[in-house]
């Protein structure tokens, strides 16, 4: 098989087009600073959503501590650039690796749990990470780490997002990715097929956590600060909401969910008192009408258009 398939080539061209258009609009100031901020935020949220989808959607392990890994990335990256004065690229790499390492260490014991128990354990772990950071004076404690230079821009966020999306897409279609899907479908059957279930669960968890670290590093280098209050369990739920809204197990779904919810939040920032109401109503209506999420576990493809309304039937 060709290393770059026809579909991938088309997708890459599409990405370049999208990038050129948005970057052009930013350059001629059709897109003002407010929307530019939100577009970067969309990129970051998409990274968070697709990486959580890798754990929750593909591997079927219900983790809700994603903000914790994001925090690790945000702070590690900031320490590298602010405290040590090293380049941003190194910060991104170290943020990714350290979040992944933590994911690996945490994943080993907790992934023996399943269902509700895993959810509670990861929720707790996310909070533990946050409280730990809150008490480290070196990184600013409760007042947060301030004075982080704005190294993230649309270009960096967009292309990192594309790289991560491609990585996860290819991972899904690889042999380890298939094992993850098999574990989601039926862990005992996967076990009897000779799949080392613990290994692949930890692998998915580690990858997901490390990309959350990347997103965190982008985040702190766009908003000038890393603050513990940003990474509460509400943030974890936000990410989870994006994934579930789009459809667990669908990459396209995660991307659309993240985009849609970021847009809704941005539009509603003018009506702060109505924001949570409208947000919640959207969720309730969606869960009533389409409990499987916007895309179910399907991907956007030509097949989907051909089959038309099959899923609604």
């Amino acid at each position: 098989m060709d290393p770059i398939r026809k579909f991938d080539l088309k997708a890459i061209i599409a990405c370049i087009l999208i990038y050129a258009v948005v970057q052009g609009l930013i350059a001629v100031e059709v897109i003002g600073p407010f929307w530019e901020l939100n577009i970067v935020l969309i990129c970051i949220n998409i990274i968070l959503a697709v990486s959580l989808n890798l754990i929750n959607g593909y591997t079927g392990q219900f983790s809700i501590g994603h903000a914790g890994f994001m925090a690790v990335g945000a702070y590690t990256g900031a320490v590298i650039t602010v405290k040590l004065g090293l380049p941003f690229a190194l910060g991104l790499v170290v943020a990714t690796i350290s979040a992944g390492l933590l994911g690996f260490l945490i994943g080993l014991p907790t992934l023996r749990l399943d269902g509700d128990y895993l959810a509670i354990a990861t929720l707790g772990l996310g909070e533990i990470i946050r409280i730990c950071i809150l008490n480290i004076d070196y990184v600013g404690g409760a007042s947060g780490l301030m004075g982080i230079p704005r190294f993230t821009n649309f270009t960096v966020a967009f292309w990192l997002m594309i790289a991560i999306i491609f990585f996860i897409k290819n991972f899904k279609n690889s042999a380890p990715g298939r094992c993850c899907l098999a574990i989601r479908e039926n862990e005992i059957a996967a076990d009897t097929m000779g799949i080392n279930t613990t290994k692949y669960k930890v692998m998915a968890f580690t990858l997901g956590a490390s990309f959350a670290g990347t997103a965190g590093c982008l985040f702190s280098h766009y908003f000038f600060l890393a603050h513990p209050a940003t990474f509460t369990f509400m943030k974890s739920f936000d990410i989870l909401t994006m994934v579930v809204l789009g459809g667990l197990g669908s990459m396209t779904g995660s991307i659309c969910g993240a985009t849609l919810l970021t847009f809704i939040s941005a539009y509603l920032s003018d009506f702060p008192e109505w924001r949570m109401v409208i947000y919640s109503v959207t969720m309730i209506v969606l869960m009533l009408r389409r409990p499987q999420g916007l895309f179910g576990s399907e991907e956007l493809s030509r097949k989907m258009f051909r089959l038309g309304g099959r899923q609604n039937g």
Partner: protein, 234 residues
């Protein structure tokens, strides 16, 4: 080929298997029969590595496999068809079969075995692209069996293949089990349908509340008064 020596298995404080020993020789069909809760499935799960015995030993192919993880045991050619037709519901029939060959690297051999599976189960070929979750109960059982065969097992453990199937289908499934055996795979079969199991088995063990109470050739057991009364309906 397989020797189980005096294994004891617990579910927490419950002593489920109380010192079971059994033996399966090359090329045989061996049946484990017994009523609900006798410990048949637990025995199978222990052999395939899904559960660990507290004491006792399991020898397969002259190697001690006691306490080895399931995925390592599969690559030694010992594969289990789990109870209740555990197929990967959201994968197609073809993808399910491909997952079965997970431990193998020989592409030609895999393609050949895929062909063989489709020959044994023509119905799966018709539904190759269908999601496994949409198959009927019987077809799912066939798929679970086909998937296990894809790992090219030397010893196949089957957990209640007749469960929840119509009598006609049960007959078909058992015919296929006989064929699989005839083509060189040794089979250890757990069954509640003692009649059917004894009709194809060479040897059988009767389990009662975690102990083996009777054993012998299938013919002997089928004509034994105690077995007839308890399991074969007079």
């Amino acid at each position: 080929m397989l020797q189980v020596k005096d294994i004891n298995v617990y579910y927490g404080a419950i002593h489920a298997i109380k010192g079971i020993s059994l033996e399966v020789s090359d090329g045989e069909i061996v049946a484990l029969i017994g009523s609900n809760g006798a410990g048949k499935s637990t025995t199978l799960r222990t052999i395939s590595g899904l559960m660990k015995p507290k004491s006792g030993r399991i020898i397969y192919d002259d190697q001690d496999i006691t306490g080895r993880p399931a995925h390592k045991i599969v690559s030694m050619g010992l594969c289990q068809v789990p109870e209740g037709r555990r197929v990967f519901a959201n994968m197609t029939v073809l993808e399910n079969l491909e997952m079965g060959a997970y431990t193998r690297k020989d592409k030609d051999g895999i393609a050949q075995d895929m062909k063989k599976v489709f020959e044994s189960f023509p119905r799966l070929l018709e539904r190759k692209e269908q999601l496994a979750g949409t198959l009927s109960g019987g077809e799912q059982q066939m798929l679970a069996m086909g998937r296990a065969l894809m790992s090219k097992p030397k010893l196949l453990l089957m957990d209640e293949p007749s469960m929840g199937l119509a009598p006609l289908l049960v007959k078909e499934i058992f015919n296929i089990i006989k064929e699989i055996n005839a083509s060189g795979t040794t089979i250890l079969l757990v069954e509640q349908n003692a009649n059917m199991a004894l009709s194809i088995a060479d040897k059988a063990y009767v389990l009662e509340t975690g102990r083996i109470t009777l054993s012998g050739t299938a013919k002997e057991l089928a004509s034994s008064e105690a077995v007839r009364k308890a399991y074969l309906g007079g």
